[in-house]
Structure formats: structure tokens, C-alpha cells
């Protein structure tokens, strides 16, 4: 058998799976979003009508869509910087020559990442309980009054953000730690000889050298956080007063509770476009910064 044939043979199974079960549906998503696919069409496909961009138009006039987008953007805009900050601090601590038992600490700090999001979300739902929850217990010991984390529309999203930071910071910590280890030690030595303080070393060596890694980690985290779904589904069920309904939560509800698959597809597609635009913007800004 020629090399060309062998290559096609080895590629075929993966190509079929990705083509039929990924590329075809992605292309189909846009087509679906231009139809009024609903429960009637699900029963009999002849009820299906082409409605052009009507689904998008209707969405843009729907307060709940804007609310869901607002909640998601809030989650991304606060959650991503906070997660990155915690990841960076953890990585810096682990990288410090003064730290002991590094691999043990690395494992312990990383552990939340591999846990099942639904299971630990259930745990945190109880930790956030107003009366019996240990989060309020800890706050009480600092003299802070109990917060109705999951019952107050203002506090539900911060609670979900805290949970997400706890669950995810270990992932970026590992990548940033590898980035820190790749910075040549001579740079720091030279700076020490010049008498630069620890802060100046961080500001003028660590941060610029780590910038490409930070940018990549930031983009990956933004993409991940835009896909907020399981956390509100388990912790708050979208409440209270729909204050934690995310875009994907709305898509799931629209598609699989109400069977408005056409409109749900439009939501999915809009989210995709927004994610693409935001990551593209981050890349542009990142490149510009690197250029100056």
C-alpha cells in the first residue's frame, strides 16, 4: 500500500466522525437559525418555514436575551481577571525558591480542576447556604453579617464567580508556572547585581517575559467562561429572579424545554460570533502591545 493510501486509511475514521458529527452540525446550526424549527416541525418537518433573520431580529428585541448576555459578560469580565490573578499569585508562590514541598502543593492546588463540576457545585451550594453555610460562618468570624448568597439577585453571580475561580485557577496556574520556569535565570541575576528590588524585577522582567503566556491563557479562559452553563444550572437554577441565566442557559431552555430549536440556534450562533470577536480583539491588542 502506498503512503498516500495509508494516510487516507488512517485518517478516515476520525474524518468521518468530525465531519458528520461536528462540521455538519456546525454548518447546520446557521441554517437552523434561519428557520422557525419548533415542536410542530419536530413532529412533522413540513411545518418548517424559512424565516431569514427573523430569529435574530426577535432576539435583539427580547429583554431576557440582553439580560442573559449581560450576566455572561459580567461573569467573564469579573471572573477572568480574578481567576488569572489567583492563578498568577499561586504560580509565583510555587515558583519561589523559598517554597517547600512544591510538587505536593502543586497537586493540592490543582485538585479542584479535575473534579466533576456538577458534584462540587452541589457542595458549594451548601457552603453558600445563608444559615448553615460555612462561607457565612467564616465571614461571621470576621464580623461580617450573613449574606443571602443564592437568594439575593445581587449576590448570586458573585457566588458563582467565587466558585468558578476556586474550581479553575489551578489550570492556568500550571501553564503560568511553566512560563515562569522558562524565563532565563540570568535576567534576574543581572537585575540583582544592578540592585533592582523584587517588585521592579517582577514589573520589568517577569511580566514582559510572561506576557505571551498571559495572553494565551487569557484568551482560553475567556472562551471557557463564555460557556457558562453547569454552574448556574446546579447552584441557582438560573435564579433568583433569573439573575444567573447565562446565554447558554437561555439556549438550553429555549431549545430543550420549549423546543424552539430555530431560535435557540440563533442564540448559539450569536454567542459564537461574540466569542470570536472578543478573542480576536484580545489577540489584536496583545500583538499591538508586543509591537511597541
Amino acid at each position: 500500500m502506498s503512503r498516500q493510501h495509508a494516510a487516507w486509511l488512517l485518517l478516515a475514521p476520525a474524518a468521518v466522525v468530525l465531519g458528520v458529527f461536528f462540521l455538519l452540525p456546525v454548518a447546520g446550526a446557521f441554517a437552523l437559525s434561519l428557520t422557525d424549527y419548533d415542536l410542530y416541525a419536530l413532529a412533522d418537518v413540513h411545518n418548517l418555514r424559512f424565516v431569514a433573520l427573523n430569529n435574530y431580529w426577535a432576539l435583539l428585541h427580547r429583554p431576557l436575551f440582553w439580560a442573559a448576555l449581560g450576566h455572561t459578560v459580567y461573569f467573564v469580565a469579573v471572573g477572568v481577571p480574578l481567576s488569572m490573578l489567583v492563578s498568577l499569585c499561586a504560580a509565583l508562590l510555587l515558583h519561589s525558591p523559598l517554597a517547600r514541598c512544591k510538587s505536593l502543593f502543586r497537586t493540592l492546588l490543582f485538585a479542584p480542576v479535575v473534579t466533576t463540576v456538577v458534584a462540587v457545585a452541589v457542595v458549594w451550594r451548601y457552603l453558600f447556604n445563608t444559615k448553615y453555610g460555612l462561607v457565612n460562618e467564616v465571614l461571621a468570624s470576621a464580623g461580617i453579617h450573613p449574606i443571602d448568597w443564592l437568594g439575593e439577585p445581587h449576590w448570586a453571580m458573585p457566588a458563582i464567580i467565587l466558585f468558578a475561580v476556586w474550581k479553575n485557577f489551578g489550570y492556568n496556574m500550571i501553564i503560568l508556572l511553566a512560563g515562569l520556569q522558562a524565563i532565563p535565570a540570568e535576567l534576574y541575576e543581572a537585575a540583582r547585581i544592578d540592585g533592582a528590588s523584587a517588585w521592579r524585577q517582577f514589573r520589568h522582567i517577569t511580566l514582559p517575559m510572561l506576557a505571551p503566556t498571559l495572553l494565551m491563557v487569557g484568551i482560553l479562559t475567556v472562551c471557557g467562561y463564555f460557556q457558562l452553563f453547569a454552574e448556574p444550572y446546579v447552584i441557582t437554577e438560573g435564579g433568583p429572579l433569573q439573575s444567573t441565566v447565562s446565554v447558554l442557559y437561555l439556549m438550553y431552555d429555549e431549545g430543550f424545554t420549549w423546543w424552539n430549536l430555530g431560535s435557540a440556534s440563533a442564540i448559539a450562533f450569536l454567542l459564537f460570533v461574540i466569542m470570536f470577536a472578543v478573542t480576536e480583539l484580545m489577540l489584536r491588542i496583545g500583538r499591538k502591545e508586543a509591537g511597541t
Partner: protein, 273 residues
């Protein structure tokens, strides 16, 4: 700051961080061993007055957790084994075999990494329905049989195989498939372990797609069973914690046993930027 103070500060912060990271899981285990209702005492107790396995018995005998557990094991294992084969074959072909359109095709695979899976979910549901794969284990397994990430990971690793080795085998008259099985696969063992543990954990923890495609309780995986239990039994803290323990502990143990491979894969996969 004196070095001793700095050392105490850094290690103290690490210990504090580790406590925050681990506390919810330790609390989960502790509460799962409490009597029903015990966690709702004031002040909330940290340890059970008398440890009991009552909640676990309840979970498996009445709440059907055994079935969910086996479903999860079946779906995750099948996905891992089959997708490993598909991704290894494709990743190796991209790395080492020359064929028309290779670079363009690989660019396409990398492009797929940027598309969130949720975009495909609604049409995928409509596609699987006439195939009889909705509310069927296959509905979860089949779409996961190949992944752009898996192919990418294998390709990155397989590029390290020296061409001379493959050429020598070809001169000796070995066929391409024989080379793949006899020479390439043994060299790919480390990445096989990495990809297996990664795929297994992802499949075990996956929530949104199984929630959509598995419509009946009989086929529920652990996260689905747990989420639906949490909606019905919201006040049974102890029972829910036992459910979380049963869900989380297998993946935590797997990670602890194979963490070197997992973390290597994480770094290898993240250099794509």
C-alpha cells in the same frame, strides 16, 4: 523583609491556599458520613458525631446511584478506548505521512479548536434522533469518537519520531500499517496514557451534552443523576454529599495516580496559541 520572614510568608500562603482548595472536598466527605439532618445543626458541625454509611446505602439502594455509576463507567471507558484509536491514527498520519492536502486539512483541524461545541449541539440532536441515538449511550459516545484536540496532541508528540526509523522499516519492506502498529504505537505510549486520562476525565465530568441527549433516567450518567437528585432532594445535605463523593472520588484517584501524564498533556496541549 528578612529571608526567614519571607520564607514563612510564602509557605504560609501556600498552606492557606491548599486549605481553601481542599476544604470543600474534605467537608463533603465529612458531611456524607453524618446522620440525616445533622449538618443543619447550629453551629454547623465540621465532623460527624458518629460516622455512618447510611447515606451511601440510601444512595445505592433507593436513589439508583449504582446504575448511574455503571452508566458513567461504560460511557467514559468506551469513549476513551475508541477515541484513542481514532485520534492516534489521525494524529500520526498528520505528523509523519505525506499526502496531498495535508497542511490545509490540518489547519482545518486547528480551526475546529476555536469553535465551541455548543454551536453544534442543536443540529446534532436533530441528526442523532432519526439514527435512534437520542436517549442511547451511543448518543454520548459516537460524537466524541474523534476530537480535534486529541488529534492535535498526538500530532505534536508524534512529530518527535525520527524519520530514519520509519525509512529503515520501509526499506526492510514493512507495509505502512505494519509500521504504524509495530513501530509507531509503542513509541506513542506516553501520549496514549496522557490522552486516555484526559479523555476519561472529560467524559466522566461532561454535563451539557449528556443532559441534552440522554432524556431518560435509565441512561443518566453520574453528573446528570446528581443534578436531578439535587433538584429533588435539595434539603438532604448529607445524601447529596455522599452523591458528590461517589462522583468525584474516582476521578480524583485517577488523577493522583497518573498526574504526571495529565499535567504534561495540559502543557503540550496549551502551546497551541
Amino acid at each position: 523583609m528578612t529571608p526567614r520572614l519571607a520564607k514563612a510568608l510564602i509557605n504560609g500562603l501556600l498552606i492557606g491556599g491548599a486549605i481553601v482548595a481542599l476544604f470543600p472536598m474534605l467537608w463533603m466527605v465529612s458531611v456524607s458520613l453524618m446522620q440525616p439532618g445533622e449538618a443543619s445543626n447550629l453551629p454547623p458541625p465540621l465532623l460527624p458525631a458518629q460516622a455512618t454509611l447510611h447515606n451511601y446505602r440510601e444512595l445505592f439502594l433507593r436513589a439508583g446511584m449504582g446504575r448511574y455509576w455503571l452508566n458513567s463507567l461504560l460511557v467514559s471507558s468506551a469513549t476513551t478506548v475508541l477515541s484513542l484509536a481514532f485520534n492516534l491514527m489521525a494524529g500520526y498520519a498528520f505528523a509523519k505521512l505525506r499526502f496531498a492536502g495535508r497542511d490545509a486539512l490540518f489547519k482545518g483541524v486547528v480551526g475546529m479548536l476555536a469553535v465551541p461545541a455548543q454551536v453544534a449541539m442543536l443540529p446534532l440532536f436533530l441528526l442523532l434522533k432519526p439514527m435512534g441515538l437520542v436517549n442511547h449511550y451511543g448518543g454520548v459516545i459516537v460524537p466524541a469518537l474523534a476530537s480535534a484536540f486529541g488529534i492535535f496532541l498526538v500530532r505534536q508528540y508524534a512529530r518527535g519520531i525520527p524519520d530514519e526509523l520509519l525509512e529503515a522499516a520501509r526499506i526492510d519492506g514493512a507495509g505502512e500499517l505494519r509500521i504504524f502498529v509495530r513501530i509507531v504505537l509503542p513509541l506513542l505510549k506516553p501520549i496514549m496514557v496522557t490522552l486516555s486520562i484526559y479523555t476519561f476525565l472529560t467524559a466522566w465530568n461532561d454535563f451539557m451534552w449528556p443532559l441534552i441527549v440522554l432524556t431518560g433516567q435509565d441512561h443518566y450518567t453520574l453528573p446528570l443523576g446528581l443534578a436531578s437528585l439535587a433538584r429533588e432532594h435539595a434539603t438532604d445535605t448529607e445524601l447529596m454529599m455522599a452523591g458528590s463523593v461517589v462522583t468525584v472520588v474516582p476521578v480524583l484517584l485517577l488523577f493522583l495516580a497518573l498526574q504526571r501524564y495529565y499535567l504534561e498533556g495540559l502543557l503540550l496541549g496549551s502551546v497551541k496559541g
